[in-house]
Structure formats: structure tokens, C-alpha cells
């Protein structure tokens, strides 16, 4: 009844091409953003910020990055945490060696460095795909892990190999309370989401999708696979690099050499499988799911009065993730985002069945 596009006529190209063509969608989105910016900081507890909202925002950014590569360009990667590591260590070294640099510039530079490394490891994708590429990206994961654990220069010769950062300062604004971190991350995430959304609507995104759907046909209609694949690797690694820098500086503060290991890579992949491949919104759903599920698994048995040990909970978490991935691949390969879309379709007709 309420969600209908009847009577909303588009009389200009601008109106036709806007990101959310339906008025109700725009209102909903604005309300959501306003809620996230204004209401949440007042009501959320520190626990909620630190254990859920902040990881969620950063992981959503990383998941968008991986989704651009896997979901939109069809190139599988199980080594994307390595590019997050590149971003984090690049940012650490930039801040360390050029202390005067603005943090936003640091973020962008860290992303660019990660993009360069990502392109380097994306080169095999020009010759191979699918399973073979999975192993090539696995090589990136282990090699980059090793580099940051062993080459002392990157960690500023610290003894344990772990690095720590000072709170971020931006134009005199010191970001150190959880609420401030949340607001900063939210702003960054919104900017990058809008960028990604426009990127995949434009000719670059279309080139990626054509390459994904059928690479030979894409080449026939004039898309250079070299550009399409390498640009996907670059943009995707850029996003992950920025996410990695934020993960290190804002979320962790100090981190060990193996903070960005294979498990994180696989978790990123699970986010986009569960959330929905080839969907920006799906990246949000997937990140939320991966962040919330372990916490729920720890909490629910306590509410029910059957406390389980943390190790049992983590094994259960493994089992549930595994089962869900198989389930989603079989039942709904487009993930939670597709369920959302189906819900919207149903809402348009409601309360009528047809």
C-alpha cells in the first residue's frame, strides 16, 4: 500500500538515472542515514559500539571491496585479507614516517598502495581463472603474511613484530571515544558506498559484469579483459586497503603480525556469499551477519541457561557458517540481498496476492 511507484513520473534523464528511483526508497534511505548519524550515537552502549558496530562498518567496507572483484567481475580471491594487511601496514608506515600527514590522505595513499599490490597479484588472472586463480590469491595471502611478519622495516623494528598506533586526529578532532570512531567510520563508509554504487552502474562496472558473465563475448563487444580484470583487482584492493588501515588504526589500535590471516580472508568471502554476490547491499548484510552470529552464539546459551564453553561455541560457529554457506549456495545463490529484493517485490503488491 505504502510502497508503490505509481504516479512517480520521470520527466528528465537525471530523474531516470538517479540511484534510488523510487521516492519511498529515498525517504527510507535518508531516514536510515539520519537514524544512524543522530539516534544511534545517543543510545548505543560502548559494548555495542566496540564489539558490533565498529567491526561491522569496517568489514562492510572490505566486503564491498571483495564483492566488486568476486561478485561483479567474477574473479575469485581467497587472499583479500592480505590486501587489508598491505593497507594497514602502509598507513602505519606513512603515519610513522610523515607524522604531519592528514589521516584522510594517509587512508587514500594506503588504499593506492594496496591497489598496486593487488594489481601485481591480479596479473595471473589474465591467463587463468576460477580454481587456479584461487591458488594464486592464496599465494598472495601467505607471501604477504610472511613479508609483514619477517621484514622488520615494516614494523619499525619492534621486538615482538606487533605495532601500535596513536589515536587518529583529523583537523584537530581527536577520534578516540567509541561514538566518535563510529561516526567517522560511518561517514567514510557512506562515501565509499556511494562511490562503489556509481562505479558498478557506470561503464567500468558494466565491463566487469560482462567479463564475469562471459569473458569471450565481452572481448568480442570491445571490452579489454586486461583493463577490466586489472581495474577490478585495483579497485577491490583499494577498498580492502582502506578497510585494513581503518581496521588497524580505529578498531584494533595495535595488532600482531598475523592479524590479517587466511581466516579473515575466508570470512570476507563468506560475507559476500551469505550477503549476496554482485550486490553492494548484500555486502552490508553479510558483514552484519558475520559480526553478529558469533556474539549471538555466545549469548543465546546463557539466556537459555545452558552455558557452553567458548571453545564449543567457536566450533559451533564453524559448523553453522559451513552449513549456512552450503545452504545459501543451494537455496539462494544470491544471498540475503536477494531475499530483501523478494521482500520488496512482495511489499509492492501487499495486501493483494497478485
Amino acid at each position: 500500500m505504502l510502497y508503490r511507484e505509481n504516479g512517480q513520473f520521470k520527466s528528465t534523464y537525471r530523474a531516470d538515472q538517479q540511484m534510488l528511483p523510487v521516492l519511498q526508497d529515498r525517504v527510507f534511505m535518508l531516514a536510515l542515514v539520519a537514524f544512524a548519524f543522530v539516534v544511534v550515537p545517543f543510545f548505543a552502549s560502548n559494548y555495542l559500539f566496540l564489539s558490533m558496530l565498529i567491526p561491522f562498518l569496517i568489514l562492510a567496507l572490505a566486503a564491498i571491496g571483495l564483492n566488486l572483484l568476486v561478485g561483479y567481475c567474477g574473479q575469485i580471491s581467497i587472499g583479500h585479507a592480505a590486501f587489508m594487511a598491505v593497507g594497514a601496514y602502509a598507513a602505519y608506515n606513512l603515519v610513522l614516517r610523515v607524522p604531519a600527514m592528514n589521516f584522510l590522505v594517509v587512508l587514500v595513499l594506503a588504499g593506492l598502495i594496496a591497489a598496486a599490490v593487488g594489481m601485481l597479484f591480479g596479473i595471473p588472472s589474465l591467463r587463468i581463472k576460477g580454481l587456479y586463480l584461487a591458488v594464486a590469491t592464496l599465494a598472495a595471502q601467505f607471501f604477504i603474511d610472511w613479508i609483514f611478519a619477517r621484514v622488520k622495516w615494516f614494523t619499525d623494528y619492534s621486538h615482538s613484530g606487533s605495532v601500535s598506533t596513536a589515536p587518529v586526529e583529523l583537523f584537530g578532532w581527536r577520534i578516540d571515544t567509541p561514538a566518535e570512531k563510529y561516526l567517522f567510520l560511518l561517514a567514510v563508509l557512506i562515501v565509499f558506498t556511494v562511490l562503489a554504487k556509481n562505479l558498478v552502474r557506470g561503464h567500468i562496472g558494466r565491463a566487469w559484469m560482462a567479463t564475469r558473465d562471459m569473458d569471450v563475448a565481452a572481448e568480442v563487444i570491445g571490452i579489454r579483459p586486461v583493463y577490466a580484470k586489472l581495474s577490478a583487482f585495483a579497485v577491490s584492493s583499494f577498498y580492502c586497503g582502506v578497510a585494513g588501515a581503518l581496521w588497524g588504526f580505529i578498531h584494533l589500535g595495535s595488532w600482531e603480525p598475523l592479524a590479517f590471516n587466511l581466516t579473515l580472508s575466508l570470512n570476507l568471502l563468506f560475507m559476500i556469499i551469505i550477503g549476496g554476490m554482485g550486490s553492494i547491499l548484500g555486502s552490508y548484510f553479510g558483514a552484519a551477519f558475520i559480526v553478529v552470529l558469533p556474539i549471538l552464539l555466545n549469548q543465546i546459551p546463557q539466556w537459555l541457561g545452558v552455558p557452553i564453553s567458548t571453545s564449543t561455541a567457536s566450533h559451533l560457529e564453524f559448523m553453522i557458517f559451513g552449513a549456512l554457506i552450503v545452504l545459501f549456495l543451494i537455496v539462494e545463490p544470491h544471498g540475503l540481498a536477494r531475499l530483501w529484493a523478494i521482500g520488496k517485490e512482495k511489499l509492492r503488491l501487499w495486501p493483494f496476492p497478485h
Binding site: V135, A139, F143, S314, H315, F318, F321, L329
Partner: protein
């Protein structure tokens, strides 16, 4: 001929690298030989895991990421069952468990996903990996367990006359090598001489043609996953007997991925040779390449063996994507 040049170059670099420490006199021949043997033994284990990959890939076109998890699961099962019964009985029960597991995987995961593209199946096996890791540790426990193989621990001194000081060999390593050779021979016989083996090869060659002459695909898949499960038991028992059964087996077994890239996805001999190359290569690199690298770049320790296999596989992908023994058929873009 021209396309072989980079491969030949890469292989010669490997061979030269193998003998370089000896030629430069960096180590006494006895020590070099011990490193070589240690590498071969590690290689046998990688080969066993890779064998499971190749079997499943050949018969069903599925890239089974879960092989490492299957090894862990099998090893955990044997280790915990052996606490209550003799080892041979534990292994028999574990075989039954792996066959049931194969049936469940075929019914629940593979059959609904039939005709999906390879990447979706790869991700599904990732899901199976996570499930098996969690399930195995919930059912069997997550501590470190030992498997007692009943082989004397103390190493034997051999070749005393040839090398100064002789060479130390572990008896369980020798047993592992013998078992691996036996397993491969039995598998080869099974594939070449039995009706089921012929059906398996037919399915590997062409799914549709095999189906059209009345070979039941579903049953073949169950069989091949069961065989892979049994190979996983062998790998798990040998590995667990050597190093103890623990979660890290699942991670180390990932090394089988570069092994199959090196040897070729569809080749059983490739899995063996690839495993040996990677086993020897990474041990040699760790022992002889590591210290100079650490000194030259002031690194915080070696650990080259963590990535050596993967980077070697990456190089092979660039010059010869089908692997050393694989069929030359690859989608190029």
C-alpha cells in the same frame, strides 16, 4: 617446442638449486642428504593429501577444498577411537565413518549443486571445510592427540660407510613411504583393472557420455569421495603418528593445492611428483636459502616454507597452467 622453454628453464633452475648447496660446499654431503630425505618425507604427506584432491577432481570436476579438513577429521576419528579399541579396529570404524560422510556429502551438497559452475562448487567445499572442522572438533574434542603406530621412535643410522657420520632415518618415515607406494599401487590397480575403476575413468573423461551408457553418476561420486576419504585416513594416520593430531593439520594440508597445480589437476602421478618436488623444494629453501636471505635483508627469522610452495605454484601457473602432467586444456581469456 617453444612453449616448453620456460618450463624447462624453471625446472632446470629447481634442479640447479637442489644441487647448489652441495656444489658450493655449503654443507657436508651427509647433512644435505638428510635434508633431502626430510623433504621427500614431507613430500609424501603432501602427495597423499593431493591424491585425494586429484581423485575427486578427476571424477566429479569438483575442486575439493575440504580435503585438508577430511584429513583432520579422519585423523581425529582414528586417534579418539584408538583410545577405546585396537588401532586396526579404529581404522576400520574410521573407514565406515568416511564412507558415510561421503554419502552425506554427495546427497546434501553435490546433488543439489549438480551442473553448477566450478566456482560455486569450490565455495560449497569451503563450506564443507568449515563444517567438518567444527563438527570434528565438537565430536572428537579439540586437544592434541597422539596416534601410536607401534613403530620404534629412535632413528636408525644408515649408509655409515658412504657419508661421514652416516645418515639418521626415522623408521616411521620409511613406513610412511612404503604405505604411500602401496596405496598408489592399489589405487592404480583399482583404476585400471576393476569395472568400477573403468566406470570412474569413464566419468572423469566425459560425464554425459558416461551417463548415457548407464553409469550411475551419483554412485560413482559416492565411491570416489569414499576413496578420497580412505586416502585421507591414511594421510591422517601417518601425519598424526608423526606430529600428533591437531587443528594445524587442516592448514598444512592446504599445501596440497600448490602440489596439484604443479603436478596437474588430473594426474595421479602428477600429485606424487608434485608433492615430492614441493616437499624437497621447501625444505631445501628453508635450510639453505633461508639463512642467507635472513642475513642479507635482516629478517626476523626464516619461515620461507610457509609460502615457498604457493609462490612456486604461482610461477608454474604463469608458464604452464596445466601443470607438469595435466591435460593441456585450459580456458584462456
Amino acid at each position: 617446442m617453444k612453449r616448453h622453454i620456460p618450463v624447462i628453464a624453471l625446472c632446470s633452475v629447481l634442479v640447479v638449486g637442489l644441487f647448489l648447496p652441495l656444489a658450493l660446499g655449503l654443507s657436508p654431503p651427509g647433512f644435505w642428504f638428510e635434508v633431502l630425505l626430510g623433504g621427500l618425507m614431507a613430500g609424501v604427506l603432501y602427495s597423499l593429501v593431493a591424491l585425494g584432491f586429484v581423485l575427486i577432481f578427476k571424477a566429479s570436476g569438483v575442486f575439493n577444498f575440504a580435503q585438508g579438513a577430511m584429513v583432520l577429521f579422519a585423523a581425529l576419528a582414528v586417534a579418539r577411537l584408538a583410545e577405546r579399541m585396537p588401532l586396526w579396529a579404529a581404522i576400520l570404524v574410521a573407514i565406515v565413518i568416511m564412507i558415510v560422510l561421503a554419502m552425506v556429502i554427495e546427497r546434501v551438497v553435490l546433488r543439489p549443486l549438480v551442473n553448477q559452475e566450478g566456482v560455486a562448487l569450490l565455495m560449497a567445499t569451503l563450506g564443507v571445510t568449515y563444517f567438518l572442522d567444527g563438527f570434528g572438533q565438537t565430536v572428537w574434542g579439540s586437544d592434541i592427540y597422539a596416534i601410536e603406530l607401534g613403530i620404534a621412535r629412535e632413528p636408525v643410522m644408515v649408509l655409515d660407510g658412504i657419508f661421514q657420520g652416516g645418515i639418521l632415518i626415522n623408521r616411521d618415515d620409511v613406513a610412511a613411504a612404503v604405505v604411500a607406494v602401496l596405496l598408489v599401487s592399489v589405487l592404480a590397480l583399482f583404476f585400471q583393472k576393476t569395472a568400477t575403476g573403468r566406470a570412474l575413468r569413464a566419468v572423469a573423461d566425459d560425464h554425459q557420455a558416461a551417463q548415457s551408457i548407464g553409469i550411475p553418476l551419483n554412485r560413482i561420486w559416492v565411491i570416489v569421495w569414499s576413496v578420497a576419504g580412505i586416502v585421507a585416513i591414511v594421510a591422517g594416520v601417518i601425519w598424526g603418528g608423526k606430529l600428533g593430531v591437531q587443528f594445524s593439520i587442516s592448514l598444512v594440508a592446504l599445501k596440497a593445492l600448490p602440489v596439484v597445480i604443479l603436478g596437474g589437476f588430473t594426474s595421479v602421478p602428477g600429485a606424487i611428483v608434485g608433492g615430492l618436488i614441493i616437499g624437497v623444494g621447501e625444505k631445501m629453501a628453508e635450510v639453505f636459502l633461508g639463512p642467507p636471505l635472513v642475513k642479507a635483508f635482516d629478517l626476523a627469522g626464516g619461515g620461507i616454507e610457509n609460502w615457498f610452495a604457493y609462490v612456486l605454484a604461482l610461477l608454474f601457473l604463469l608458464v604452464r597452467p596445466e601443470g607438469l602432467f595435466g591435460e593441456r586444456h585450459i580456458d584462456r581469456v
